[in-house]
């Protein structure tokens, strides 16, 4: 009954994504840029005849750019409101079981992390930050608008 979590690395930090939200993990090769879109939208990619909107998690977290020049990137595919997104991460590690409900983080995190955080969850690999996928996709635009 415990929630499953996908452990990924973003900006050298191990964080957890709710595994239920993740459809698959893919390797992106081609990336079609979307001019004038928000900076964290890295571009479009195609996966099995579907268009994926690729989100650069580093930029969404305001932690700098992911270097996409070396070609293949790992990404987690999620669906939100009928659209498919690929979240570029440094590394996809493992799926683990959550051992607790998320509890608020009381320490001060970076602004980017603060925005996407759903709290700390305990896992057998130690405590991990649970990421709110929707907030990650929205980038810092949503906050600016709010």
């Amino acid at each position: 009954m415990n929630e499953l979590l996908l452990i990924v690395t973003i900006a050298n930090e191990r964080v957890a994504l709710p595994a239920a939200a993740v459809e698959s993990v893919v390797e992106l090769d081609t990336l079609i840029p979307v001019p004038r879109a928000a900076p964290h939208v890295a571009g479009l990619s195609a996966l099995r005849s579907r268009v994926l909107t690729v989100i650069d998690c580093m930029r969404s977290l305001e932690l700098g750019d992911t270097d996409c020049s070396d070609g293949i990137r790992e990404a987690a595919v999620v669906e939100l409101d009928g659209h498919h997104y690929a979240l570029i991460v440094d590394l996809v590690e493992d799926v683990v079981e959550a051992l607790s409900e998320p509890s608020p983080v009381r320490a001060a995190m970076g602004a980017g992390w603060e925005r996407v955080s759903q709290g700390i969850v305990e896992t057998e690999n130690g405590p991990l930050l649970l990421i709110d996928v929707a907030a990650l996709i929205a980038g810092n635009e949503a906050k600016a608008a709010a």
């Binding site: 079609i32 979307v34 195609a46």
Partner: protein
């Protein structure tokens, strides 16, 4: 009506099925209130509906049962076994009758009075199972069998089919890349055609008659007019036009709004109407028709019309336009002001419509789905609003262009023409940093797609192509792109919110090569590019006057034929490009014919020897009524004929030669093609002026080259010159000062009676003879 009955039957059947269990339970436990209620609801519904459909027996039965049950519900009566069986007998009888209605048979015989009498309190359980002879055997098979499906399920199927088309495209690309294997190709072709068929079928399931939208209108108008003390007659036409179900939902609100406006602001009170010399009853007509891949919905009222001057005053006082601008507005522009935000013509704000938040919302809603709203009004006579909406939302014909190596798609519906930045009649200048293109004397603001997108284009500005766009409801502007690629039918999906937020894109799609492509939103680009659409429309006219004198450069498609010849076809006759396997081309009925989908077209431009194996690409030419295929090896470019055309001295497939992009190209004579490949015709062949009034594509692209080849100079009604001969379609109105002779063209081969001296439009010999004799007449 039949539809309504079918709905009624379906509804009753559903309820009967659901009741099956309830009835048994009720029988066991007559005081069960919930069961009683559901049975009551059933007979109540049946009663309500039969009154409407005139099924008196059904009505009497259900009415009786309803009364009895109402007594039980009100506690005036106790549900005993006798009542339960009496009600059940009635429900059974209703079931039988509904089956009979469904099968279109006579009602089962028998008298219902015994059943009704059995309901009376204290009646004996005298219910005889009257005529159960509605035997199962005859019941079957009537009317097409239907089932009800949830809309979500259909949507899922539709989106899966769209995905399948995309997957097929990707597979096609992979197959092209790999070594081709004939059996695999064959199997793939078959798969492709099945998928195409399936897409057609599923698209049709999404189609709905627009009647569904219209059916509520009379009632709405009646209520509205009663409330306002007006008398309005609604006239509805074209309810059988089919439209994408989603589309119907999207236009429901705008349509309702326009009708409310028409009744509220348009149609006058009966007394005012009489004073104005009109009938007391106002007429509101709503009609729908299909035109190409658009649906046109006209809403016309014979009310007071829109006062353009008042609108302008209003617009000035509310700051929408300045006094100076207002002075330059044409009557049409004045009317278009009703779409400006914050304007309402009603003197007072009423509860029914508008406090000025109306028409601008209507327009933006319609434009969002790729439609257009137009308004036309005569003061004192009425107003006509026209909604033009596309048939479906999902598949859009588009042109792919590229900038800095990246491809983008532009919906073809918004494209007016494509010109070269340094073409003959085109100049591109920069005024105060803004690009202004002058295309045949018309000033058009230029937007550089590279600048808008912040991309670095390597192509020199003067070498770019200008795509002249007319976004829905707006005015034209030219978008400069590096290159024009192909025409494709794209399955468009909405893009993620982060992408839509740019305001530049209308969606995403996958190109045939499997890579994602962004579909541009022409109105969005104009907005981001800072083009002032409304302003432009008003000022552009100044440049337009003298522009008419400049000859129209004809856009052509430059291609290489199968024999390697460099040829050109007028762009307007090319419907689209198809690719077919060589095996679908056969010599039959005296000429080469090609099968494209379900159609068999005569094929020109090829001989059996040239076809060979593999794939053949062909243009699908269309004159509005017939289609002809024209095989070619490759498309070279889009171009315009800017140089002189040297006409061929002998008739044939090629009407002349002209320099296009610096090299000679043969002009394919589309008129000749259609005359020879479609209808029966023969041939024959002189230097005068010919007037072709009214501009239509057929006249321009088919007739004009022919008449020019006959040695005439073609003018249209904008020219003040006197013509030696006029050519017009039968039924067309001609300008008064006609010429010596008029040649009438008719669309059918057979003359309409003996007196009919018109000429069939593909009767080349007849037409040329007529032209010749007209020339001889002048001496």
């Amino acid at each position: 009506m039949d539809d309504l009955i079918a709905d009624f039957v379906a509804e009753c059947r559903e309820m009967l099925e659901a009741l099956g269990g309830e009835i048994v339970a009720w029988e066991a436990q007559p005081d069960d209130r919930a069961r009683l209620d559901s049975i009551f609801r059933f007979v109540h519904t049946v009663k309500g509906n039969c009154g409407f459909f005139e099924f008196p027996r059904l009505e009497a039965l259900s009415h009786a049962a309803e009364d009895a049950l109402a007594d039980v519900r009100a506690g005036r009566r106790h549900a005993d076994g006798a009542l339960v069986s009496a009600v059940l007998a009635i429900i059974d009888r209703i079931g039988e009758m509904i089956s009979a209605i469904e099968a279109g048979e006579e009602m089962p015989g028998g008298d219902d009075s015994a059943l009704i009498a059995a309901l009376a309190p204290g009646a004996e359980g005298a219910v005889a199972p009257v005529v159960t002879a509605a035997d199962a055997a005859t019941k079957a098979s009537a009317a097409p069998r239907t089932i009800r499906l949830s809309v979500e399920l259909l949507d899922r199927v539709m989106s899966t089919v769209s995905d399948m088309v995309l997957a097929r495209n990707e597979l096609a690309r992979r197959l092209r890349e790999s070594e081709s294997d004939v059996p695999v190709d064959g199997a793939f072709e078959r798969l492709s055609s099945i998928i195409a068929e399936m897409r057609d079928a599923i698209t049709r399931t999404r189609m709905q008659r627009i009647e569904n939208l219209f059916v509520g209108l009379p009632r709405m108008v009646r209520d509205l007019s009663a409330e306002l003390g007006k008398q309005v007659l609604v006239d509805i036409e074209g309810g059988d036009v089919e439209l994408d179900r989603e589309m119907i939902e999207m236009i429901r609100d705008p349509l309702t709004h326009i009708i409310r406006n028409a009744v509220d602001h348009g149609i006058e009170k009966p007394a005012d109407r009489l004073k104005a010399g009109k009938r007391e009853i106002g007429v509101l007509s709503v009609s729908a028709r299909q035109s190409g891949n658009q649906i046109l919905i006209d809403i016309h009222d014979d009310g007071r019309g829109i006062d353009g001057k008042k609108l302008v005053e209003k617009a000035i006082s509310s700051g929408v336009v300045t006094k100076e601008e207002a002075a330059t507005l044409s009557p049409r522009d004045q009317l278009a002001l009703i779409f400006a935000a914050g304007l309402s013509t009603a003197q007072e704000v009423t509860a029914i419509s508008g406090r000025g938040v109306g028409m601008d919302v209507v327009r933006s809603n319609v434009e969002r789905i790729g439609g257009i709203v137009e308004v036309d009004s005569k003061l004192g006579e009425g107003t006509r609003m026209t909604l033009r909406v596309p048939l479906t939302l999902t598949i859009i014909p588009a042109l792919t262009v590229s900038i800095a190596g990246q491809h983008f798609a532009i919906p073809r519906s918004a494209i007016e023409e494509i010109v070269r930045a340094n073409g003959e009649a085109v100049t591109l200048e920069h005024l105060g940093g803004a690009g202004v293109a002058t295309i045949r004397g018309r000033r058009v603001p230029e937007v550089s797609l590279a600048a808008i997108l912040g991309l670095d284009s390597k192509v020199d500005e003067q070498d770019r192509r200008l795509v002249v766009l007319r976004p829905a409801g707006g005015d034209v502007y030219a978008l400069s792109v590096d290159r024009i690629h192909d025409h494709e039918e794209l399955v468009v999906k909405p893009a993620a919110p982060a992408i839509m937020a740019t305001g530049l894109y209308a969606g995403t799609t996958l190109a045939d090569d499997g890579s994602p492509i962004l579909l541009m939103d022409p109105a969005g680009i104009a907005q981001v590019g800072g083009v002032k659409l409304e302003m432009q429309e008003r000022t552009a006219r100044i440049a337009e006057g003298p522009a008419e004198a400049v000859s129209k450069a004809t856009p052509v498609l430059l291609f290489r034929g199968l024999d390697g010849g460099r040829r050109a076809l007028r762009l307007a006759v090319v419907d689209r490009i198809e690719e077919v396997p060589a095996s679908s081309i056969k010599q039959s009925a005296g000429q080469l014919r090609v099968q494209v989908g379900d159609a068999i077209l005569p094929l020109a431009g090829a001989t059996t020897e040239q076809l060979g194996e593999g794939k053949v690409r062909l243009f699908r030419l269309n004159d509005g009524g017939y289609e002809v295929g024209y095989a070619f090896a490759e498309v070279i470019d889009f171009a315009t004929i800017e140089n002189e055309i040297i006409h061929a001295d002998r008739l044939g497939e090629v009407s002349g030669v002209s320099l296009i992009n610096g090299q000679p190209a043969e002009l394919v004579d589309a008129h000749w093609l259609f005359a020879n490949y479609v209808g029966a015709a023969s041939r024959s062949k002189e230097q005068l002026v010919c007037l072709v009034p009214g501009w239509d594509p057929w006249m321009e692209n088919m007739l004009r080259p022919l008449v020019e080849a006959a040695g005439y100079r073609v003018i249209d009604d904008a020219d003040e010159e006197r013509a030696d001969v006029v050519i017009a379609s039968v039924g067309e109105d001609l300008p008064e000062e006609s010429s010596n002779k008029t040649i009438w063209l008719r669309p059918e081969p057979e003359p309409n009676g003996k007196k009919d001296d018109s000429i069939y439009r593909y009767d080349r010999a007849g037409l040329l003879m007529a032209l010749k004799s007209a020339g001889a007449g002048r001496g």
